[in-house]
Subunit: 124 residues, 2 copies
DNA sequence: ACTCCAGCTTACCCAAAGGTCGGTACCTTA
DNA sequence: TAAGGTACCGACCTTTGGGTAAGCTGGAGT
């Protein structure tokens, strides 16, 4: 299989099926993954902050998403053993690299959403 | 802290729930949506081309995804009434704007996937 | 004493995303 | 006559993402 670190490696197949790239892409573009990454692009946040900022996320999904992103080395977890438990989540170096590319995309999406979605039949 | 040029619309809530921006974000970051957009970023493609390039997609999902992206004004469909039916799909102006931002993200993902996913326990 | 908060985890369950398969219409090649 | 290709549609069924609810630890508030 292709492992060549070419600039435009998807010149031949756009992310071969079953490849690690597909998995990572799924993590990043997952429903809540994007929102968490965007929230953290502004700086460190606590559990309850994230719940508020990623409006609508459930505790289960928050925990699950954070765990995935942490495993992928995009988010780091800093648990302080203080009396009322305090845990801060922030982006790793790698995470910042990613969100540097993600934020413009999100900004474009945000700016164009009204025109696109409201100007068009939206049944699904 | 601030990473975007604009007043950062998600400064207060990162894509408010139930907003058009969430819907559009879901379309764009959907499992097959990304792959179709990336494939089309290289130029026009036919139905069967897309099936090959978005490896693993089913006909149903291809049709559904294309329809969504078309409704969002990101993809244009050009059906020629020739004897063996020929339909070309390509990006609209708006679609190009998007993929200009999407491609770097995809490239980063592709380049970092091996290290991230293979260097780490991957249970899910 | 009782309840509330943060920061989780686990169990249970459902809607919906997505896969499989068959059909359609028209033409070409064997 | 039969098989095969393009570009789909749609019924049916399975997988899974994600929601709800409950529990847990250990203070702090009333």
């Amino acid at each position: 299989m292709k492992t060549a670190p070419q600039p435009l490696a998807f010149a031949d197949g756009v992310f071969p099926a079953g490849c690690p790239s597909r998995t990572l892409l799924d993590h990043i573009t997952s429903k809540w993954g994007v929102l968490i990454l965007l929230a953290l692009s502004e700086g460190k946040h606590r559990w309850s902050d994230l719940r508020r900022r990623a409006e609508g996320i459930s505790e289960k999904m928050l925990a699950q998403t954070l765990k995935t992103l942490e495993r992928d080395g995009l988010v780091s977890r800093d648990a302080q053993p203080v009396i009322p438990p305090r845990v801060d989540y922030s982006l790793t170096e790698r995470g910042y690299e990613l969100t540097a590319l993600l934020v413009p995309l999100a900004a474009w999406t945000f700016e164009n959403a009204e025109v696109i979605i409201n100007g068009i039949q939206q049944d699904k």
